[in-house]
């Protein structure tokens, strides 16, 4: 195995926080889609 440095992300300080942000984004998106579907069905 080659030694490769695992750099931190450019914002939010840690990759864990970035991943959490992506999960929150997904939940928000699904919720918005659900309301969109309800509004026009």
């Amino acid at each position: 195995m080659k030694q490769v440095i695992d750099e931190p992300p450019p914002f939010l300080g840690s990759w864990r926080r970035i991943y959490l942000l992506v999960i929150l984004y997904l939940i928000t998106l699904i919720t918005l889609f659900w309301f969109f579907g309800k509004a026009w069905s």
């Binding site: 440095i5 579907g37 069905s41």
Partner: protein, 539 residues
């Protein structure tokens, strides 16, 4: 259009100058920034199929297809946490190289061959979609359009390698975004006076097309939130974690962080992009509620139908149903309660189209958006949309051909036939395999044109193999005690389970990945529990 495509390819080749080693040809010397990889990954997925077939899917089946992508952000997180650092540290050219480091040569070879079969078949589908575009636009025979597209892609892929592909993808993705946005705005603008976006959404909603989240669960229902989150996540995991056509994109990254950022950009951008593409399809549906469409969108099928003695009666039935739907929709948009009449007329239209399709034996889903673009958009915009579709097609075909060549050279030729040779030899062989897979794509595209919705055909094909591949990678990364033989038998058992599931019709194809992966892991663990000592890497 021709100028745009020429400029994009020239730019890509210019950026790829100095590609004179195997490393630069297949991995871009690991120098690519995250934004180039991010758009290249998106472009590799956002093929011509995405444009013409997904909009058609929106028209025919509504927006529920977007749920297929709900698992993608979750998969991206898992890939960023596991596959990206593992592959970077292993310093591999292909994902399958890692399997030999972890298991043995036969597991690597088996999975490489599975990839070559699956991706080799899919590349024909990817080439068939743009051939449809050119056939409709130029009136050329399918065979000629496939050949023209194939020759262009083979040309710049053979010359520039992965660097040329990545930079052309980058440009093509920007054109695609412009084309997509313009098509959506134009579709809304072209709606008859007094309808507008609200009227279009009212009509599409009444027809049941605005259904981006469906919570009813069924094993055989292709698209609902559950199959999207779980089945979609497994498919995306397989695709981004184990499919060389994607892995090769982020292996060109200059660091782990750059590769992660490129994948997370996809996690964020992919779902809204698919939503907008499907929305364009539903707006086109609303447009054709007020402007009468042809009975069938495929010009060839329509010509065939006209030869049938039943044609006048079928056309009359369609015309009547259209008038009823138009009248009901117009009243509904202005607040009258005509939803029942609208739905009844819609069912009659669907039944008539089904009757006509049965006579012709074709499927016109892929021709709906093209008919709209070529007949109703102004010439300049048509050029932009067609350039976007062709750019999308080239990006996906070049990426797939390049990855097929990489696996053929690194995992098969170099590993099994010629382990020691000069770098120049492998570079030459890489170019030769790239040309070979390009020609193969042209030939298989001839059989791919009547597979119904092409986007579904591609995903169905992937689902036959992805579960098995994902399972063996999961064993490699998460179960260090599982040895080579257990993993090898696990893959074979997993594939057998997937085919059994398909031929018994027990579940929708999105579940094949989940089932295949679980069977591989279970079998691997079971067999390894009987082995005295776990086998270690490469022994």
């Amino acid at each position: 259009m021709v100028l745009t495509i020429t400029a994009i390819i020239s730019y890509g080749l210019w950026r790829a100058r100095g590609t004179d080693t195997t490393d630069t040809y297949l991995r871009a010397g690991k120098t690519m920034p995250w934004y180039a990889m991010a758009l290249s990954i998106m472009a590799t997925q956002a093929s011509a199929i995405t444009f013409i077939s997904t909009t058609g899917q929106g028209y025919v089946d509504g927006m529920r297809f977007v749920q297929f992508y709900f698992g993608l952000p979750l998969a991206m997180i898992v890939v960023c946490m596991t596959a990206v650092p593992v592959f970077h540290r292993a310093n591999v050219y292909t994902a399958y190289e890692y399997l030999e480091k972890r298991f043995d040569a036969k597991t690597r070879t088996l999975v490489s061959i599975i990839f070559l079969i699956q991706r080799g078949l899919a590349v024909g589908l990817a080439l068939a979609a743009p051939a449809i575009v050119l056939t409709v636009l130029l009136g050329w025979p399918d065979q000629i359009t496939t050949l023209v597209m194939g020759v262009i892609v083979i040309g710049y892929t053979v010359m520039g390698g992965v660097k040329a592909i990545t930079w052309t993808d980058f440009q093509q993705m920007l054109i695609m975004m412009a084309g997509l946005g313009t098509a959506l705005i134009m579709a809304i603008n072209l709606l008859p006076e007094g309808i507008g976006l609200t009227g279009a959404l009212t009509v599409a909603g009444a027809a049941g097309k605005l259904n981006p989240v469906t919570t009813d669960f069924s094993w055989t229902d292709r698209y609902n939130i559950w199959s999207g989150l779980f089945g979609g996540m497994f498919l995306a995991l397989s695709y981004f974690g184990c499919d060389q056509s994607q892995v090769q994109r982020y292996l060109t990254g200059s660091s782990i962080a750059q590769s992660r950022l490129s994948l997370l950009f996809n996690a964020i951008a992919k779902i809204p992009m698919q939503f907008l593409i499907l929305l364009t399809g539903t707006i086109v549906f609303a447009f054709f509620t007020f402007i009468q469409p042809p009975l069938l969108f495929h010009p060839g099928d329509m010509a065939k139908l006209r030869q049938n003695p039943d044609y006048p009666a079928i056309q009359q039935r369609f015309d009547n149903a259209f008038r009823q739907r138009h009248e009901a929709a117009s009243k509904m948009v202005h607040g009258e309660q005509t939803r029942a009449e609208f739905k009844s007329a819609q069912q009659e239209i669907d039944a008539t189209r089904k009757q006509a399709s049965k006579i012709t034996g074709g499927n016109d889903t892929n021709y709906i958006f093209l008919h709209f673009v070529t007949n109703y958009l102004p010439p300049g915009i048509v050029g932009l949309v067609i350039a976007a579709i062709l750019g999308a097609a080239m990006s996906v075909i070049s990426g797939e051909v390049n990855s097929l060549a990489t696996v053929s050279v690194i995992d098969i030729y170099k590993r099994l036939f010629r382990p020691v040779a000069e770098d120049g030899h492998y570079l030459w062989v890489s170019r030769a395999f790239t040309a070979f897979w390009g020609v193969y794509a042209v030939l298989t595209a001839q059989f791919a044109k009547n597979l119904g919705s092409l986007v579904e055909a591609v995903n169905l094909l992937g689902s036959f193999f992805y579960g098995g591949i994902l399972g063996v990678f999961a064993l490699a990364v998460y179960f260090p005690k599982v040895g080579a033989n257990a993993a090898f038998i696990g893959v074979l058992t997993g594939e057998a389970a997937i085919f059994a599931l398909h031929f018994t019709g027990a579940a929708s194809f999105l579940w094949y990945n989940v089932a295949g992966c679980i069977v591989v892991i279970f079998t691997g663990l079971l067999i390894s529990s009987f082995e005295r000592e776990p086998q270690s890497a490469g022994k």
